[in-house]
Symmetry: C2
DNA sequence: GTAATAAATGGAAATGATTTTCATTAACAA
DNA sequence: TTGTTAATGAAAATCATTTCCATTTATTAC
């Protein structure tokens, strides 16, 4: 068995402790669920995944942990317009690559795209610099989403 | 008194009727409130404004009308992360100019900026074209927001 | 104009995601 | 091992938004 499979302390343990938070079974399980998933998950999605491995977990803990993770910048929180938030691990934390979202306003389907990202990022960084200077903001993050009708919903509405 | 002040049917009447919707006192008042305001408003903001001029209005009507307006593309709906949606008239409908938002993640203050917009729009249009071709979406809209700490909140956290 | 029709309305109740409360449990520093 | 304090789960509370339904009103046909 390759040594890479030996489990050391997870990558996020350090940052967690550094912020004064404790490493708990629930938090391990939540981070695992987020790392495993390569898609955005709702709090309930995460609850169900974690519940399978660790049935004692409560939905409250999911929400509380997610709030911490979002504040630490380890997780991004999205609103796709269907009334429940979605969460995904910030890239750099795992194998997921930087992407933006394309959302169908009818069926709420979400496409993650990585095309054109490089140009977008370049422009965003320039803008970010300009904005933080002009408005005296410490900018930490950005959001780009496109909205429209997916193929199926286009057909339906014809 | 200049003739421009004479009230003809409002600019949106045609589109409303064209979609099979009726022109009602409540809807007039809601559109007025949105036109008057040059900032994003919550449903409750709009309710309070409209209520002053037309006390019979119900919050339900505000929500129902906003939904129609958003679906028609006359109004944009935003999520700034404080648990309530904000609405603003789509540009072109009134004197408001195209802008994006810069949001303080701590105090939720929102800055509308128009700087750098031209470059952003140009890139977005290129991206939009590429995305609609590749993913077979009819793209109708986009969203760009920057997040960070405003000057005041930066100081507080030091 | 008037009447007929169906859409629009308001108030109350329901919904549903998220938060709060609080008594109990568990992490971890000493 | 123990004491301190953060973390937890279950239940209750919150609160923006939706739904229900009986009533009103805009619009259309006459």
């Amino acid at each position: 068995m390759p040594r890479g499979n030996c489990k050391g302390p997870a990558w996020w343990h350090g940052r967690f402790k550094g912020c004064g938070y404790r490493i708990t079974t629930g938090r391990e399980a939540i981070l695992d669920a987020l790392t495993m998933a390569d898609r955005h998950l709702s709090a309930e999605d995460i609850y169900m995944k974690v519940h399978a491995a660790y049935p004692a977990i409560g939905l409250t803990t999911i929400y509380r942990t997610l709030e911490i993770l979002v504040n630490m910048g380890l997780v991004f929180k999205f609103d796709f317009g269907d009334g429940r938030a979605r969460y995904e691990l910030a890239e750099g934390s795992n194998r997921s690559t930087h992407h933006h979202h394309l959302i169908c306003t009818s069926c709420k389907r979400v496409v993650d795209y990585t095309d054109f990202i490089d140009d977008e990022i370049e422009l965003l960084q320039k803008t970010e610099k300009g904005l933080s200077d002009k408005y005296n903001f410490a900018i930490t993050n950005h959001l780009i989403q496109f909205y429209g009708l997916c193929g199926k919903c286009k057909k339906k509405k014809q």
